[in-house]
């Protein structure tokens, strides 16, 4: 199978990226040391090619009502132009189809950004739901848009340097909101636990903008560091921390699911009928080694499983997200089976690190 390429493929290769098959996309995993790239983002800033993610625009008079039924979080919270909301999109049985960000642009236009690996199935599901509930809705995806994330404490300043006119437009942009600038869409969002922007722009303009950012000293960051940054920030990764077989209330997503308002949404009845028995927690390894996905966690209340694990460059020890029986408490000591050994880990509240610093006691 031929791997799909983003508009920045040649730029990555020119910058010495090590390319890997990432869900069918030919993507940079690093440009040298993944750990250096991680620190670069926590301490200064870096840029990521996330053009494999998909933008989906929904337009129509009934778009808000449609999204209130489609998404587990409640878009009735969105009133300011450009404001974003993180939400899961559930199956009728409560399993997670995808997690996404929805932006309110106008009463007849909401913009959604979905994961790369799930984009086609997401759009098929959205269209099938719209056929029933909002037949006049226009659902158009934009594979022709590239997306560049610039993240880190100095990210916004670097974007302002690289993009004349952007400062006036985005300096007062509150976190988790976006604004249009010509053909660009600039969102103060990210997947690292740092400040910064995610910028959508036409594919043909992406290599030029990437080059300007590089000229301003912004270092390219691969998907390897993206994963350790999001893990430290306690952000779920679809396909690892949750998927179609997982109850979102057992995946740390309760804060995004509105079960209080009287509105109905796909999956609500199933969630109400199946109270969670497990929960997602953080783990910090106390022994030497590295926590990894699918390792079994032994607790005083039964077993659980690591959903994402790696080495935390900020804490300089291994951390993980794990799904364990809900009786497990912060501070508990648990055992993790790694090969032929049982290693001790401490249950911690996540995020582990944000805004350049560790936020848990290792």
């Amino acid at each position: 199978m031929t791997l799909k390429q983003t508009p920045l493929n040649a730029a990555h290769r020119a910058m010495g990226a090590k390319m890997v098959d990432f869900g069918g996309w030919d993507m940079p995993v690093n440009y040298g040391s993944q750990i250096d790239e991680h620190h670069q983002v926590r301490n200064d800033c870096g840029m990521f090619d996330v053009s494999h993610m998909r933008v989906v625009d929904m337009r129509g008079n009934d778009v808000r009502a449609f999204l209130q039924g489609l998404l587990a979080n409640n878009v009735s919270k969105l009133h300011l132009t450009g404001k974003a909301l993180y939400s899961a999109m559930l199956r009728p049985d409560g399993g997670v189809i995808d997690d996404l960000i929805v932006y309110f642009m106008r009463e007849d236009w909401f913009r959604i950004v979905v994961n790369a690996g799930t984009a086609d199935k997401d759009i098929a599901w959205m269209r099938a739901q719209a056929a029933v509930h909002a037949p006049h809705l226009d659902i158009t995806d934009h594979p022709e848009l590239a997306m560049i994330a610039v993240q880190g404490p100095n990210a916004r300043a670097k974007v302002w340097e690289a993009l004349p006119g952007s400062q006036a437009l985005t300096e007062s942009l509150i976190p988790f909101s976006a604004v249009e600038m010509g053909e660009m869409f600039i969102a103060r969002t990210g997947y690292t636990g740092e400040d910064g922007f995610e910028i959508m722009l036409p594919a043909k303009a992406a290599p030029f903008f990437w080059g300007i950012l590089a000229e301003k000293g912004v270092k390219p960051i691969g998907l390897g560091a993206r994963d350790t940054l999001r893990l430290e920030a306690g952000m779920n990764l679809y396909g690892q921390d949750m998927d179609e077989t997982v109850n979102p209330l057992e995946a740390g997503l309760a804060w995004t699911i509105d079960l209080i308002s009287p509105r109905d949404f796909v999956g609500k009845a199933a969630l109400l009928a199946n109270p969670p028995t497990h929960k997602l927690i953080g783990l910090i390894l106390q022994d030497r080694g590295v926590l990894r996905g699918h390792q079994i966690v032994h607790t005083a209340h039964g077993t659980g499983e690591i959903t994402s694990g790696s080495f935390s460059p900020t804490l300089n020890q291994s951390i993980a997200l794990a799904r364990v029986p809900k009786e497990v408490a912060i501070g508990d000591s648990v055992q993790v089976a790694i090969r032929d050994k049982m290693l001790t880990a401490k249950v911690a509240k996540y995020p582990f690190a944000r805004n350049g610093k560790a936020v848990v006691q290792a």
Partner: protein, 129 residues
């Protein structure tokens, strides 16, 4: 990337240095460390452990993945490199200096049949395709 000609190799990317006393020193190659990326943990076999050729006996873990290291020949572990406990990244910066463990081979002739640099180069080249 040059492959040192004075060392022996395995298809599973270990390098082997034959010492004057007949013992061997084992590490992982430049190619292996490049594939794995930033190293964060090394688990070496205990001294005195008896190993069969091809046996999993050490683990190197990068941020990205864990990889097994195999005994290149049968024999007994005589030393392991505790410096890697605190600086596993030495495998990235100097893979042919950052040895993982040493063995006394059960049969010296087994060492002679390991890959030479040219044969190992062919292994690396074949993986690139």
């Amino acid at each position: 990337m040059s492959i040192p000609t004075e060392l022996k190799y395995t298809p599973s990317h270990e390098w082997i240095r034959v010492e004057a006393d007949g013992s061997i020193t084992i590490g992982i190659t430049q190619h292996a460390q490049e594939l794995l990326g930033d190293m964060v943990y090394v688990e070496a076999p205990a001294v005195g452990r008896s190993l069969n050729a091809g046996e999993e006996c050490a683990v190197v873990e990068s941020v990205k993945a864990a990889a097994d290291v195999y005994a290149p020949v049968s024999g007994t572990v005589t030393a392991n490199n505790s410096e890697l406990d605190s600086s596993p990244e030495a495998i990235n910066s100097a893979p042919y200096d950052a040895w993982i463990f040493k063995m006394q081979p059960a049969d010296a002739s087994a060492v002679a049949s390991l890959l030479d640099a040219a044969a190992y180069q062919a292994v690396v080249d074949s993986e690139a395709h």
